[in-house]
Amino acid sequence: MENLIALLVAAPLLGAAVLLCGGRRLDRAGHWLGTLLAAASFVVAVVLFTDMLGKGAEDRALHQKLFSWIPVEGFQADVAFQLDQLSMTFVLLITGVGTLIHIYSIGYMEHDERRRRFFGYLNLFLAAMLILVIADNYLLLYVGWEGVGLASYLLIGFWQHKPSAATAAKKAFLVNRVGDMGLSIAIMLMFTTFGTFAYGPVLEATGETSEGKLTAIGLMLLLAACGKSAQVPLQSWLGDAMEGPTPVSALIHAATMVTAGVYLIVRSGAIFNAAPDAQMVVVVVGAVTLIFGAIVGCAKDDIKKALAGSTMSQIGYMILAAGLGPIGYVFAIMHLVTHGFFKAGLFLGAGSVMHGMNDEVDMRKYGGLRKYMPVTFVTFGLGYLAIIGFPGLSGFFSKDKIIEAAFAKGGTEGWILGSVALLGAAITAFYMTRVMLMTFFGEERWRRTATPSPDAPDVEPAAETRGEHAEPHPHESPKSMTIPMIVLAFGSVFAGGFFSIGDRFLHWLEPVTGHDHGDAPIGASTVTAATMVALVIGVAIAWAMYGRKPVPVAAPRGSLLTRAARRDLLQDDFNHVVLVRGGEHLTRSLVYVDHTLVDGVVNGTAASMGGLSGRLRKLQNGYARSYAVSMFGGTAVLIAATLLMRAV
C-alpha cells in the first residue's frame, strides 16, 4: 500500500511533464490525458482510503521514503511521504474536486487555443498540492508550498496577454513569497532547535524547548499561512487572482490551495498548543480576516471578487478555529472540506454564468438569469444555502461548530470570538444573498445597453478585454460543465450532515489532531439559535436592499465604508503607496547611489591617480638636460647618503 502513495503524485506530475513538453501534437487529446491522470490520482486516493478505513485508528498512518534528498553533514532532508487521516482528507478533497474541475475545464476552456497548456498547469498544481499535504517533513512541504505558488502564478497569469492578469499573477507570487519567507525561517528555527524538520521528531519534541522558541516558530508558520491563505495582512493578492480562468479560481483560490495555511497550522498543532501567544495571534488574524473578507465581499460588484472576499472570510473562520487549539482543529478541517465543496460549486456556477454572459463579470449587468440557466441556478442556489448556513446543509454544520468552539474557548476571549463569528455569519448571509439576488433575480439588466461606470474602474477593463460588446444571449452551459456543478452541489448539501451525524469526522481526525471539548459557556442549541437569528437578519437586510428595489446598473457612489471596501479597505492602496512606490524610490535612489557613490569612489580614485600621473608626466619633458639634472641630483643625494651613513 505504501508504494501507492508516490503514485498519487506521480500521475499528475507525469501529466504536467507530458503536456508541457509535448508540444502542439497533443493539442487535440491533451485535455483528456490531463483529466484522466487527475482521475487516476483520485482512484489511487480512494483505494488508499478504503485500505485505511480497514485498519484500526492508530495504524492508519502510512509512510514511504523514496530517497535521501539533501544529505549534508548534520542536515538530512528526505523525499518521504506520510499519509495519515489528515493528509488523506486533503488528498481526497484535492483529487476529487480537482478531477471535477478538470472535467469542467474541458468545456470551459474549449475555445482557448492553449487548452493543452492549461491542463498541464492544472496537473502541475495537483502534483504540488499533493506533495504539500503528504510530505513527511517541513522542507518537502515547502517544495509543495512553493510548487502550488508557481502553479497558481502560471494559472492566474494564464491569459498573459492581458496586463492585468500578468500583474495579478506576479502580485500573487510576490505576496506568497513573503509568506514563504516565514516558512523558511520557521524551518531554519526548527533545524537549529530540533536538529531536524520532519513532522514526527519535531512535533514530539515540543516539550523539550522553550516556549519563546515555539512562539517564534509558530508566528513564522502563521506568516506563511497568511500568505498562502490570504489572511490579513497578506490578503491583497486573492482578489486580483480572480483574473485567472474561473476553474482556477474554483480549484486553487477557493477549494484547495488557499486552505493550505489551515493545513499547516493544524499539522503543526503540537507547536501551537505549546505556544499560547502564537495561538492568540492566529485567532486574532482569523477573526480580523473573517470580518475583513466579509466586508469586502459585500461591496464588490464583480461576481468573482465578491466570492473571493467570501473565501477570505471563510478561511478566516478556519484559521480562527485552528487557532483555538484542539477545540477547533477538527472543525477547521471540516469547514475546510465543506467549504471546498460549496465554494468550488459557487465558483463553477459563477463561471457558468460568465460563460453564458460573454464573460461579463459585473453583477449589476446580470439579473433574472434563473430562467435562462436553470441548472446553474439550482446548483448555485444550493451552494448559496450551504455557505450561509441554511439548516441541514453542509455549511450549517461546519460553521455552527466553529462558532460553538469559539464560545467554548472560554472567558472574555471566547465571548468576543464567538460574537465576531456570529457577526461574520450575518454578513455572510447578507453578501451571499446580495450575489444571489443580483444575479438570478430581478430585472434583466443585461438587456439595457451597457454604460461604463466610472466608480468601478477595476471592473471595466476586465469586461472590455474579455467579451465583445454585443448583447449577451444567456444560455445553459454544456454537460461537461454542469455535471461537476451537480456533483459539487450534492457535496454542498450532504457533506456536512454526513460528517457531523455521529461525529464521524471527529472520530476520523481525532487520532491525528487530538480533540478537546472545551467548556462552552452557553449551550450548543443556544449558539445554533443565535446563528439562525444572524442569518435571518443578514438575508433580510439584503432582501430589503437588493430584492425589493431595482438594482442600478451603474454602481452608486455609496458610503465611505462601501467605497473603502470596494478598494479592499484601502489595504491595497497602503501597499501600493508604501511598498510599491517606496520600493521604486528606494531602488531608483540605490541605482543612483551605486552609479555615483560606490562607482564614484573608485572612479574618483582612478581620476586622482590619473591627475597625479599627469603631473608626474610633466617631469618627463623629453629634454636631455632635465634628465641630466635628475641624474646629477640623484648622484648628489647618493653621495650625501653615503657620507651620512659613514658619519653615523
Partner: protein, 523 residues
C-alpha cells in the same frame, strides 16, 4: 607514473585554443566545430576525473607534483578535492554550451564588412579561459594558482573588449567606447586585486617558506609553522581582497554589471558562471585553509558585506532597465549568498556554498543564454523594448521563465537546495544573518517576475511581432541546462557526496564545529 589526468584536462582546451586560432581565416565554421570538439573532449576528461574520484578517499586526489622554479620552491602541484572537482566539472560542462550559444556572435558583420571580427580568436580565447580556470581549480600551489588567477584576465579582457554585444543603443562608436570602458574597468579592478594578492603571496612565502598548500598545512599541523596574529591577518586580507573583487563582493562589484552588460551573453556567462567562481572557490581553498584564525577574525565584517551584497544586489536588480545588467546585479546578490555560506563556517553553509557555485553557474547560464537569444532577435537590451514575447515565442518564454525561477530558487530546481543550505547554515551560526538573507528570496522573486512580466507578457509589441521561437541549436543549449537544473534540484546527492568530505576537511582546518541543535544539546 599514472596518466596525468588533471594536466590533460587543462591541457586539452589549451591545445584546442592554439588549434582553433591556427585555422585559416576563411574556414570560420571549421574553427567553430574544432572549438566545440575540444570543449567536448575536455568534458569527457572531466567526466573521467569525476569517475576516478573516490569521495571517501584522500583529501586531494589525482595529484601531480613536479618541481618548477626550484629557487623559490615553486612547484607544479595539482590535485582536486570534492569542491575543486565539482567546479572543474562545472566549467568543463558549461563551455560547450557557451561555444554553441556564441556560434554566431563572432561572425563578421554583414552590414559593415570593413570591421573584421576574428571568429577564430573568439573561440580560441574561450578555450584559453577554460584551460586556465580548470587549472586554477586544480592548483594546490599558491604561486601556480596566482599566475593562473592573473593570466585569465588577459583572454577575458579581449573577450569583453573585442566582442561586444551587437545589441546596443546609440552609435557604434559610442558602443565601442562603452565596451572598452567595461573591459578596462574589469581589467583594472581585477588587476588591483591581483597585485595586492601578489604582495600577500610573497609575504606568505617569506613567512612559510613554501608555496605548497600541502607543505604549509603539514608545517602548521606539526607546529613548525606558526604565524603571528598580525601577519596572518594582513596576509589574509591581501588574499581576500583579490577574491572579493573577483567574486565580487559589495562594494567592489561595480565592474561586473558593466562587463556583463557590454559583453556578448556567452561571454557574460563565462564571467559570472565560470571565472568569478574562481574567487569564491579560492576563499574556501586558500583563505580558510591558509589563514583559519584570521578568517574567523574577519568573519563578522565579511558576513555584513555579504548581507549587504545580497540585499543591495537584489534591490539594484529591481531597479535596472537593461536585461543583462539586471542579471548581473542578481549575480551579485547570489555571490553574497555564496560568501555568506562560506564564512558562516558550518557544514551546511559550506556545502551549500559549494553547491551554490555549481547551481548558480548552471542557472545563470540558462537565464543569460536565453536572454541572449532574446536580445539577438530584437537587437535591444532594454526591458521596455519588449512585451508579449510569450505569445509569439512560447518556448523561448518558457525556458526564460524556468531560468528565472531557478534564479529565484524555486524548490524543485537546483538553486533552491543550495540556497536553503546556505540559509540554514548561516542561521544556525548567526540567526540574524540568516533572517536578513532570507529577505533576498523575496527580492529575487520581485526582479525575476517583474522582468518576466515586462518582457514576456502583456500585449504583443509591434517590434516583437514575428519573432522566431528557439531554433534547434539554441534548444540544444538550453534544454540540457534545464534538465540538469531539474535533476540536481530533485537529486543533488551525487554532488553532495563528493562535496561533503571536502567540506569536513575545511571545517577541521578552521577548527569549527557545527552548532548543536538545542534539543540534542540539552540531552
Amino acid at each position: 607514473m599514472s596518466f596525468p589526468l588533471l594536466t590533460a584536462t587543462a591541457a586539452l582546451p589549451a591545445i584546442g585554443a592554439v588549434a582553433t586560432a591556427a585555422v585559416p581565416a576563411a574556414r570560420r565554421t571549421a574553427a567553430k566545430w574544432l572549438g566545440l570538439a575540444f570543449s567536448l573532449g575536455t568534458l569527457v576528461l572531466a567526466g573521467i576525473a569525476l569517475a576516478r574520484f573516490e569521495p571517501g578517499g584522500d583529501r586531494f586526489q589525482l595529484t601531480e607534483s613536479h618541481a618548477w622554479i626550484k629557487d623559490f620552491g615553486v612547484r607544479y602541484e595539482l590535485g582536486v578535492d570534492g569542491i575543486g572537482l565539482a567546479l572543474m566539472a562545472l566549467t568543463a560542462l558549461l563551455i560547450p554550451f557557451v561555444i554553441l550559444a556564441g556560434w554566431h556572435d563572432a561572425d563578421p558583420l554583414e552590414t559593415n564588412s570593413s570591421r573584421w571580427r576574428p571568429t577564430q580568436g573568439f573561440f580560441a580565447l574561450i578555450l584559453m579561459v577554460e584551460a586556465m580556470v580548470i587549472l586554477s581549480f586544480e592548483a594546490t600551489d599558491v604561486f601556480l594558482f596566482y599566475i593562473l588567477f592573473e593570466a585569465m584576465l588577459i583572454p577575458m579582457y579581449f573577450l569583453i573588449g573585442g566582442f561586444g554585444d551587437r545589441a546596443h543603443s546609440g552609435s557604434d562608436e559610442n558602443a565601442a567606447a562603452q565596451r572598452s570602458y567595461a573591459a578596462v574597468k574589469f581589467l583594472l579592478y581585477n588587476l588591483v586585486g591581483g597585485l595586492i594578492m601578489l604582495a600577500a603571496v610573497i609575504g606568505l612565502y617569506v613567512v612559510a617558506g613554501s608555496f605548497s598548500l600541502s607543505e604549509i598545512a603539514e608545517a602548521r599541523a606539526n607546529g613548525s609553522l606558526s604565524m603571528a596574529t598580525g601577519t596572518e591577518r594582513w596576509l589574509f586580507l591581501g588574499f581576500f581582497f583579490a577574491f572579493a573583487v573577483k567574486a565580487p563582493l559589495w562594494p567592489l562589484h561595480t565592474w561586473l554589471p558593466n562587463a556583463m552588460g557590454e559583453a556578448t551573453s556567452p561571454v557574460a556567462v563565462l564571467i559570472t558562471a565560470v571565472v568569478d567562481k574562481v574567487g569564491t572557490f579560492a576563499m574556501l581553498r586558500f583563505c580558510l585553509q591558509l589563514f583559519p584564525e584570521a578568517s574567523k577574525w574577519a568573519t563578522p565584517v565579511i558576513l555584513v558585506l555579504a548581507l549587504i551584497s545580497i540585499v543591495y544586489g537584489a534591490l539594484l536588480a529591481v531597479g535596472q532597465r537593461d536585461i543583462k545588467r539586471l542579471i548581473a546585479y542578481a549575480s551579485i546578490s547570489h555571490f553574497g549568498f555564496i560568501i555568506l555560506g562560506i564564512f558562516a563556517m558550518t557544514s551546511q553553509g559550506q556545502s551549500g556554498a559549494t553547491l551554490y557555485m555549481v547551481n548558480h553557474g548552471i542557472s545563470t547560464a540558462a537565464l543569460m543564454l536565453v536572454a541572449g537569444f532574446l536580445i539577438t532577435r530584437r537587437g535591444s537590451r532594454l526591458i521596455s523594448d519588449y512585451g508579449g514575447v510569450q505569445k509569439v515565442a512560447p518556448v523561448l518564454a518558457g525556458t526564460f521563465l524556468i531560468g528565472g525561477l531557478a534564479t529565484l530558487s524555486l524548490p524543485g530546481l537546483a538553486p533552491f537546495v543550495s540556497e536553503f543550505l546556505v540559509l540554514v547554515g548561516a542561521f544556525a551560526a548567526y540567526p540574524a544573518a540568516g533572517i536578513v538573507a532570507t529577505t533576498g528570496i523575496v527580492l529575487a522573486a520581485i526582479y525575476v517576475l517583474v522582468l518576466y512580466q515586462r518582457t514576456m507578457t502583456g500585449p504583443v509589441k509591434a517590434e516583437v511581432q514575428g519573432m522566431a521561437d528557439l531554433k534547434a541549436r539554441e534548444l540544444v543549449v538550453v534544454v540540457p541546462l534545464i534538465a540538469l537544473l531539474l535533476f540536481l534540484g530533485v537529486y543533488p546527492k551525487p554532488l553532495t557526496e563528493i562535496v561533503n568530505p571536502a567540506v569536513q576537511h575545511t571545517m577541521s582546518d578552521v577548527q569549527k564545529k557545527d552548532p548543536q541543535p538545542e534539543v540534542e544539546a540539552a540531552k
